[in-house]
């Protein structure tokens, strides 16, 4: 297998970044996020998870769509979409990779979102198996195998080496072109690691949730469950869960007045916000309970109903960790998911 000694990883990063832009989990001011490699990154591939998910690459928090240049009474329209070159995202975890599939079902169906498509097609994704899953992880429930994280190239951190397992042609192309890699016998070690990971995941407290109730046919019953009130009681209506979530895909389109005209851009929005979906100046979901219910019903019921039963959750556990008041999707699943949860 192609591999590199872990203490030589910087060589790898440098070599990739010479060929194309490289993004990797970087620690800055106490928070781990994907950052472009500039030679000075404090790269951290041991920690399990970035704060913001990897969806940002295809669906960034803000994105210009079109510019209007005004002069006197004239208006000129300028396409703001950029041309994207091939780039590498390094260190994506299995759950985040799975989230791309969920997002693809939204952005790549007709009418295709060209901005998303542009970024998605040009990305080469190096995934990373999860050596130490956390108690808040529950990816197993969604058919995700954190020991084989998929993507263009799977990476395994074992025995002081990082092993590479290219899965696609464009992945192989990059890996084979890297001179800093050496050939190391590591299949056994990787297999052992995979088994270990699988064992660890099996033991996680949320690995066997009962999602059986979340079916289209139960929609009305679930919608009307009285438990929503107490589940949402402490919700502050902030957007933390939404913005760290790898599958949340809502956005707002806004205009910004520049000194020479107008920039039309889109930015993430959150269904938890009271000013989400302003219809005739009003959000149809007036209470926080309704908004809270919307978010989880969408993930667990509406989305799967329209997408062959695939849930719009990947069990990454970010909302579990980051909710200021410790509300989260697991509590929702346990409360109204199915009998086996009790």
């Amino acid at each position: 297998m192609k591999a590199i000694l872990k203490d030589k990883l910087n060589l790898l990063y440098e070599e990739i970044s010479k060929k194309c832009e490289l993004y990797l989990p970087t620690k800055e001011k106490g928070a781990l996020n994907f950052k472009k490699f500039d030679g000075e990154n404090e790269v951290d591939i041991e920690s399990l998870q970035t704060v913001k998910s990897a969806k940002d690459f295809f669906f960034p928090q803000t994105e210009d769509m079109v510019n209007f240049k005004t002069e006197g009474k004239n208006i000129e329209i300028i396409d703001a979409r950029e041309k994207i070159e091939t780039y590498v995202i390094f260190g994506v975890r299995a759950c985040d990779y799975k989230s791309f599939e969920i997002l693809d079902r939204v952005f790549l169906v007709e009418p295709v979102d060209t901005m998303y498509k542009n970024r998605r097609e040009n990305a080469v994704i190096f995934t990373l198996a999860c050596n130490n899953p956390h108690a808040s992880c529950f990816c197993k429930n969604f058919g995700i195998d954190a020991s084989s994280p998929k993507g263009d190239v799977e990476c395994y951190d074992v025995d002081g080496y990082l092993f590479f397992n290219p899965l696609t042609e464009k992945g192989a192309q990059i890996v084979n072109g890297l001179t800093c890699l050496e050939e190391v016998k590591g299949e056994d070690k990787v297999d052992a690691l995979k088994k270990d990971i699988t064992k660890k995941i099996e033991k996680l407290p949320f690995s066997n949730l009962d999602l059986s109730k979340f079916k289209g046919e139960n929609l009305m019953e679930l919608f009307n469950r009285p438990e929503w009130e107490e589940l949402s009681e402490a919700c502050l209506g902030c957007g933390t869960c939404t913005f760290v979530c790898p599958t949340c895909q809502c956005f707002d389109i806004r205009d910004f007045k520049t000194n020479s005209g107008i920039k039309r851009f889109r930015c993430w929005d959150s269904c938890m916000y009271s000013d989400f979906t302003q219809m005739a100046a009003e959000n149809p979901r007036k209470t926080q309970m309704q908004r809270y219910r919307q978010r989880f019903m969408h993930k667990l019921c509406y989305y799967p109903s329209n997408n062959d039963g695939i849930y719009s959750c990947v069990g990454c556990g970010r909302c579990v960790k980051k909710c200021p008041q410790s509300l989260n999707i697991v509590k929702v699943i346990k409360k109204i998911g199915g009998e086996k949860n009790d």
Partner: protein, 321 residues
């Protein structure tokens, strides 16, 4: 600390049973010991899920804005720092006091789960709390100060509101200076400060957790959500918007911020937002005399009062060149 939980729980029971209150605002169990959530309990039966431990860090006072509008009296358990927020909200007529029965609860500092992880504890199944030490998962003994939230390390707040107090031990005082980091920043060069804040603020994902949790940020509609304000935005499109959001937010709560530290506790990106508020507090203390927001329910705030001898803006600027 189990004793404290029992004391709080029996107080809740007593209040509900006696009919003194019709609801209790407290905490409900989560999946683990550390993921507790604020919760309103309507009956004694519901109290079976009641919990009170070192992870009950959230400030409950803001919930009272809505809860006190409802029919009947509600009891609420407030840590010392919460009582300041409570007073400030009462001062601003946001809480109907006649509908609230406030109970102060002893606090020896609340936990930051991240600090347990940083201490090498991968999973926190149980925490036995002592005054100065905690025992995790029945084996690892940690210094309580090492796992406390930052705000709790510098806290010397007392109960300033509440009909009664549930307290088994006297609060251990802190001798740390809460302005230490502010002073450090002030001592830096402007370039260093700029670099510091640029990095910190660039992490901001504008999730509004800091704003929505803040008891002082209780506007019906925030300027940043109001399309008529000319500054509304749902995301920081540029670093300017990161700066503006946080400067204006700190300015809007200046003189009203009780330094409860919730903003920093909830920030998913660990931005030390309290350092902005503390800068204002420190400036106010220096320029206009020491002022602790929420210490009472009547005094005028430092930005809604003045003296004729106030310092000029040119003299008042703090920080090195």
């Amino acid at each position: 600390m189990q004793r404290l939980e029992n004391a709080v729980l029996s107080k809740a029971k007593e209040l509900l049973e006696s009919g003194k209150v019709s609801r209790v605002l407290g905490w409900t169990k989560g999946e683990f010991c550390y993921d507790v959530s604020p919760c309103v309990f309507n009956t004694v039966d519901e109290l079976k899920n009641f919990v009170y431990n070192g992870f009950c860090g959230a400030n409950l006072s803001k919930y009272l804005i809505n809860e006190s509008k409802k029919e009947g009296k509600i009891a609420v358990f407030l840590k010392p720092c919460d009582t300041y927020s409570y007073n400030q909200l009462v001062k601003e007529h946001r809480i109907k006091v006649e509908n609230v029965y406030a109970v102060g609860v002893e606090c020896q500092g609340k936990f930051d789960i991240e600090k347990f992880y940083a201490k090498g504890v991968g999973f926190v199944a149980s925490v036995e709390e002592g005054l100065t030490e905690v025992k995790v998962n029945g084996e690892t003994v940690l210094n309580r100060n090492d796992v406390k939230l930052e705000r709790c390390l510098v806290c010397n707040k007392k109960h300033v509101a509440g009909e009664e107090i549930v307290e088994l031990n006297e609060k251990l005082p802190s001798d740390s200076d809460r302005f230490e980091m502010v002073k450090k920043l002030e001592a830096m060069t402007a370039d260093e400060r700029f670099a510091f804040w640029k990095k910190e603020l660039s992490k901001c994902i504008r999730c509004n957790a800091c704003r929505n949790v803040c008891p002082a940020c209780n506007c019906t509609k925030c300027v940043f959500d109001n399309p008529n304000s000319e500054v509304s935005a749902k995301a920081n499109a540029t670093s300017f918007e990161e700066q503006m959001f946080h400067i204006i937010r700190a300015f809007h709560v200046a003189g009203r911020c009780t330094d409860c530290g919730e903003c920093s506790r909830v920030c998913p990106q660990n931005i030390p937002l309290h350092l902005l508020n503390r800068k204002f507090i420190s400036d106010i203390d220096k320029l206009y005399g020491e002022y602790q927001a929420g210490e009472d329910t009547t005094s005028k705030g430092p930005l809604t009062s003045f003296t004729k001898e106030d310092a000029e803006p040119s003299d008042a600027v703090g920080g090195n060149k």
